[in-house]
Amino acid sequence: MKLKTILDLPCGMRFIFSEMEFASSFSGQVLLDSVMNTTPAAIEGSYNELREFLSLYQTIGGSATLDKCRAALLDLRDIRNTLTALESGKVPDDVELFEIKNLAFISEKVRGILAPVNLKSVNFPDLADIVSLLDPEGHGIPSFYIYDSFDSKLSELRKKIRNSGDESGAILAECLIIEARVREMLGNRLKGSVFGLREALMSLAKADILISKSILTKKLNLTIPEIATGINKYSSVFNPEISAILSRENKTFQKVNIELDLNKPTILTGANMGGKSVVLKTLALSQFLFQFGFGVPAASAEITPVEEIHYSPGDLQDMTRGLSSFAAEMKMADRLIKNSAHGHKILALLDEPARTTNPQEGTALVTSLLNILNGRPVFVLVATHYNVKAKGCARIRVKGLEEGKMNYELIEAGESAPPREAVNIALSLGIDREWLDEAIRVMDEQNKE
C-alpha cells in the first residue's frame, strides 16, 4: 500500500502531509510513492533513520547543518526520465545535460555538508568526476552549455561569429555539428554513471524526507513508539489536526489513554459528542504513521505492526461504485472476516457499524461480527450505541458529561447497557424542552415495561 492511496482517507493523513515542509517537491512525490512497512524489522529500520536525523536536528550545530542541506536541496528536480533516456543510449540535449550537472552539483554539495556528521542512513556516491566533466572550465556554477573547451575548434568558430557575424549561417552550422559530437561523447561517458546519478537522486530525496519528518516530529510533538507484539497501547494520544484547530481557538485537546489487545475485540461506547469517532480516526492515523516510519501523536506508545488497516469512519459511502453507506460497510466487514480467516494481521477500526439499519438487526450484526473475530489475529475497536452482548470482548467507554462539561477520558465499562446521555447532551445544546421532556416520559414508560 502506497502512502498516496491513504492520503484522502478521512483519518487525516492529508493534514500530516500538508504540514511537511519539503525543500523539493520531488521528495514529496517520493514519499507519496513509498510503500507501507509491514514487518517489525522494516519499521525498526525506518525509525533508526529518523532517530539519526532527529538527534542531529535537536542539536544547534546539527540543525544548522540540516538547514544548509535544505537550502542546497531547493533546486532538486525529478530527472528520472532523463536518466532512463540516458541509460537507453539517447544522446542528451543541453537541457538534460544541465539537469544532470545540476543533480551532480547538489549531490556533491550535500555530501560535503554532511561529511563531518557521518550519517549512516543516507549514502551519497562520489560524483566529482561528473562535476568536472560537465564543468570543464571549473566555473563552479550549475549553468551549462557546450563549452569552448570541449573542442578546440568551437572557440575559434564562435569567435568568428562574434567578430564578423554569420549572415549565411554557415559557421553556426559548423558549430552545431561539433556540438552534436560533443553531446554524443558526453552521453557515452555519462551512461556509465547512471547508477550513481540515480542513487544520488534518491538519496537526496531521502535526506529531504528525513529532515522534513524530523521537523514535523518537533512541530507536532510526535513520539517514536516502541514496536510491540500483540498489543497496541497509547498514553496521552491526541489528534494533531483537531489539536491544531482547537489551539487556534485557544482551547486544548484532552489527551486520552487506550489499549487494544490482539485476539480480543474492544467495544467503545459513550455519549454522542464524546469523541468516539475522534479516537478511531486518531488510532487509524497513528497506525499509518507508525508503519510509514513517522512519529506518532502520543506521549508514549507501543504498537504492533499489522498487514492491513481497515478503517470504517461510519459514513462510508462509496458513491463512485454506487454503494450506499450500509452496503459499503458490509463489504468492508466482509473483507475483514475473509482476510482475517486467512491469518492476515489486521487493525480494524469500525465507527458505529450497521448504524443505518434497524437497531435489532444492527445489534445482531455487530454482535455476531465480534463473535467471529474473537480469537483471530485482529485488533478490533468498535464504537457503537448498540447494546452489544458479544462475549470475551474488552469494554471501554467515554467518561461523559460531568457538571455539563464533557470528559473525554476512556474508562473501563461493565457489561451493562451504555449510559443514556443523549437527552442530557441535547439539553446542553439548548434543544426544545417540550420535546426532550416527552422523550424522558417515553423512556420511563419503556423502563416500566
Partner: protein, 340 residues
C-alpha cells in the same frame, strides 16, 4: 529614438500587437537593436506560445527574434532545442507548457530564436521578478499578445509599446479608430482606492470594494451572470471589482446600477475590457467611472503599413493620423530611418 529613452526608464515593458501580423516581432527586434549593448542586462520572453516561424493562420513568414550576446531569454524546451545561437542554460522552470518547460539562458554568440514563455499572468509576473533577482536583469521585455485567446496579461509590466498596422484593417479610418480605442483603454487610470487585497486580486467573481479598501464577494459567479444583481447589493459600496471579462451586456447593466449611485467600476487591467467602443463610450458619457488595478504606461505606438494580404497604406499619413488620435509618438519601424 526618443522612445528608447522612455523604455530605459522602466524595469519591464511589453510589446503587444493589436492583431496578428501588425509587426510586433519587428517592433521587438527594433527595440532590441537599439538598446545599449553594454551596462544593461536585458531579459526577453513571451506571454504564452508565440512565434511560429511561419504564421499558422495566414502562412506569411514570421521573423524570429534576433538576440545579441549577453541578453537573457526564456523560451520553452522545444524552441530552445531549435535555437540558432549559442547560449548557456541558467535555469529550467518546474512548470511545463504545451511546448515543454521554460528554459532561461544567456546568449553567448548572437543569433535567432523563437520565444515562448509562461502562459499565465502570475507566472509571467514571477518571471520578471526572477530574472531580475536571480539573474540580474535590468530590463525585462515581454512579447505579449492582445487577444481573447491569451490568458497572460501584458499589463504586468510597467511600460507598453503597442504594435498596430494594416493587418488590423484595410481602411485607414477604421485602423486609426480601433487603435485609438485600445490606446484609450490602456490609458484608463489606476484606481485611487487603496484596495486591501492581501496578495493578489481575486481571480473569480464580482466584489464590493468598501471605502476602507476591504472587499466583500457579491453572490454572483461572474460578470456574465451580473444581470441579477439588485441595487441594494451594491448600495453604499465605493466600487465594484469585476475580475472577469467586461462585455457590452455587463457594461450596460453596470450603467444602470452604478452610475447614479456614483460607484466606480474596477477591472484588473485593460485587457479585461471586451466591450465595443460604442458601449464603452456610452458608459463613460453617462457619467460612469472605470478604473484599473494594474496600469501600464503606453510608451509609443509602432505602425506597420503593410498588410499580410499585400496592400500598403501611406506610412506618413498613417503615423500622422494615429499620432493625432492618440497623442502618442508613432513610428513606422519598417522605415527605420529615425535618429538613434
Amino acid at each position: 529614438m526618443p522612445f528608447i529613452q522612455e523604455i530605459l526608464g522602466c524595469k519591464s515593458i511589453s510589446v503587444v500587437g493589436l492583431e496578428k501580423n501588425t509587426g510586433k516581432t519587428e517592433c521587438l527586434n527594433y527595440i532590441l537593436r537599439r538598446l545599449p549593448s553594454s551596462g544593461l542586462t536585458v531579459a526577453v520572453s513571451s506571454a504564452g506560445t508565440d512565434g511560429e516561424r511561419v504564421d499558422m493562420v495566414t502562412g506569411t513568414s514570421k521573423p524570429e527574434i534576433f538576440l545579441r550576446e549577453g541578453i537573457l531569454f526564456s523560451t520553452s524546451e522545444k524552441y530552445y532545442r531549435e535555437r540558432r545561437l549559442t547560449s548557456e542554460i541558467l535555469s529550467v522552470s518546474r512548470k511545463g507548457t504545451s511546448t515543454g518547460r521554460i528554459v532561461t539562458a544567456r546568449v553567448l554568440t548572437g543569433g535567432k530564436i523563437l520565444l515562448s514563455g509562461h502562459p499565465a499572468t502570475e507566472d509571467l509576473k514571477k518571471w520578471i521578478e526572477d530574472v531580475s533577482v536571480s539573474h540580474g536583469a535590468d530590463l525585462s521585455i515581454i512579447d505579449g499578445a492582445l487577444s481573447r485567446l491569451s490568458i497572460a496579461s501584458p499589463a504586468v509590466t510597467e511600460g507598453m509599446v503597442l504594435a498596430t498596422g494594416a493587418a488590423l484593417s484595410a481602411s485607414m479610418d477604421t485602423l486609426v479608430r480601433k487603435t485609438a480605442y485600445t490606446a484609450s483603454l490602456i490609458a484608463i487610470p489606476a484606481t485611487e482606492i487603496r484596495i486591501d487585497k492581501r496578495g493578489d486580486m481575486p481571480s473569480k467573481g464580482l466584489w464590493r470594494v468598501e471605502n476602507d479598501g476591504t472587499m466583500n464577494a457579491l453572490e454572483h459567479e461572474s460578470s456574465l451572470t451580473a444581470g441579477s444583481i439588485l441595487p441594494e447589493e451594491v448600495k453604499g459600496a465605493e466600487a465594484i471589482y469585476a475580475s472577469g471579462a467586461v462585455t457590452d451586456r455587463f457594461l450596460n447593466q453596470m450603467q444602470t446600477l452604478l452610475v447614479k449611485e456614483g460607484i466606480q467600476l474596477i477591472v484588473r487591467d485593460f485587457t479585461r475590457i471586451f466591450a465595443s467602443q460604442g458601449h464603452f463610450n456610452s458608459f463613460i458619457r453617462s457619467g460612469g467611472v472605470i478604473k484599473v488595478v494594474n496600469r501600464s504606461k503606453l510608451i509609443a505606438i509602432c505602425a506597420n503599413p503593410v498588410s499580410p494580404e499585400g496592400f500598403i497604406l501611406d506610412s506618413s499619413k498613417l503615423c500622422g493620423l494615429l499620432g493625432d488620435a492618440t497623442g502618442l509618438p508613432v513610428y513606422d519601424i519598417m522605415k527605420s530611418d529615425y535618429e538613434a
